[in-house]
């Protein structure tokens, strides 16, 4: 039996379609954001230079707001330091598991579903991939690409990003993820229904990940609802204003390798 040429061409096109789609899905599933950064890393280094200049001009024009932000951060840190002094002995401060590297934000996107930041520190300054990025009032993201003088941070404002968070200083914990439908909001999920939740309760990092230290305030409870009759989903208003982000701290977990070795060794 002779197969009509039109059917053969149609089958060929279908196979080509499947092949191209498979190639795309492969790239997406291999975390395409990082691949893209690596592919155009040199271009990003050049762009970084110009973004840095632009950020410097922008920073000058918004000095008043930056000062107010820094003053608020300062007050919060003073308060935390005071609490620390009252509750601990000097011996507790040695061998702190986390070290911090300050960096300036030179590029920051907030209006898309895949937001990112570029900071002005790279591997020349001790930055490595998979380090957490924070401010005193929130987790900002995770380092996903590093060049000599700049780093690419996958922002918390990404639909695929989650942070382990807890209610109050000792409360229940669950994953906190960004809510792209409501500006400045996130959702804390998997909280047992029987727990007493109050509006304006503070949400903190749980410390159950090697990216972020515990007890960084993230936001306050703005509302909650029961899901499937089992769990609570909590609406959290984020404390950090991502739009006016100027300075961040990169977190170096000194025990990271040891933790990773343990985790990988038990798999």
């Amino acid at each position: 039996m002779r197969i009509p040429p039109s059917l053969l061409f149609g089958l060929g096109r279908f196979l080509l379609f499947i092949l191209l789609e498979a190639a795309c899905i492969y790239m997406v599933s291999n975390n395409g954001i990082i691949q893209r950064y690596r592919l155009i890393g040199k271009l990003r280094e050049v762009q970084g230079f110009f973004w840095e200049k632009y950020a410097a001009i922008n920073e000058y024009s918004s000095l008043k707001n930056a000062n107010e932000g820094l003053a608020a951060q300062n007050a919060l840190l003073m308060h935390q330091l005071q609490q620390f002094k009252e509750n601990t002995t000097p011996a507790d401060t040695t061998d702190a598991p986390f070290a911090f590297i300050t960096a300036k934000v030179i590029r920051n996107t907030v209006g898309t579903a895949h937001n990112y930041l570029i900071i002005d520190k790279g591997y020349n300054h001790g930055i490595k991939e998979d380090m957490g990025v924070i401010t005193p009032t929130g987790t900002i993201g995770i380092i996903r690409g590093v060049s000599a003088n700049y780093s690419y941070v996958l922002s918390f404002l990404n639909t695929s990003q989650q942070v382990s968070a807890k209610i109050g200083n000792d409360g229940a914990f669950g994953p906190l993820s960004w809510n792209p439908q409501r500006q400045g909001m996130a959702t804390l999920t998997e909280i047992p229904q029987h727990l007493q939740i109050n509006l304006n309760d503070t949400i903190y990092t749980s410390g159950y990940s090697s990216f972020f230290p515990p007890d960084i305030p993230l936001g306050v409870v703005e509302g909650f609802r029961t899901v499937n009759g089992v769990h609570l989903n909590i609406d959290v208003r984020l404390l950090e204003e991502f739009r006016s982000l100027k300075h961040v701290m990169v977190v170096e977990n000194k025990n990271r390798e040891e933790i990773d070795m343990l985790v990988n060794g038990t798999r």
Binding site: R13, G111, S177
Partner: protein, 173 residues
């Protein structure tokens, strides 16, 4: 100007426009303005369909590389749109007045505004359905997906028609 050169010029302009849009026009997380599907929509119906798929793949990858997104995401959506285009055109393209003009691009000069709007909306539905489903595969929520789909289709159909009215027809004339 040679027709191929015109299309290459238009493709380059569209890639630059999309890169600038992604860089500087980020209004809302639910709204993704994509001007590059318009290039695939307007290609002549007489073009080799396999070449058409490869063009969509290459254009999608270029957009993924130079705008802020995930490598492969725009390419996957654009290839799906390109594959469905002949089928959509078969049922929506008015018979008679276009058959003799297969080498012409699909612009307002060659097709009525109602037909072009319908074709654009249907093709963008395919594009954004694939784009949003792959994009939110890890964190799928029905409400968010449907809302984003509706917002993107309406906004981008309007942008496409506006582009057709103002720019594309003039460049390809």
């Amino acid at each position: 100007m040679n027709r191929t050169v015109k299309y290459i010029t238009l493709g380059t302009i569209i890639i630059i426009c999309q890169a600038l849009l992604s860089e500087y026009v980020n209004i809302w997380a639910l709204l993704y303005i994509a001007v590059f599907p318009q290039f695939i929509i307007l290609l002549p119906t007489s073009m080799n369909r396999s070449l058409y798929l490869i063009t969509a793949f290459a254009l999608g990858l270029c957009i993924d590389l130079f705008s802020d997104g995930i490598l492969g995401l725009n390419a996957a959506a654009l290839v799906a749109m390109a594959y469905s285009r002949p089928l959509i055109l078969k049922f929506t393209l008015p018979k008679g007045n276009f058959d003799s003009n297969e080498n012409s691009p699909l612009t307002l000069r060659t097709i009525e505004i109602t037909s072009l709007t319908l074709i654009t909306a249907l093709l963008l539905t395919v594009f954004f359905a694939v784009y949003i489903l792959i994009d939110s595969a890890a964190s799928f929520t029905f409400g968010y997906t449907v809302l984003k789909l509706v917002v993107c289709i309406i906004a981008n159909t309007l942008v496409s028609i506006l582009l057709n009215l103002t720019l594309l027809d003039k460049i390809l004339r």
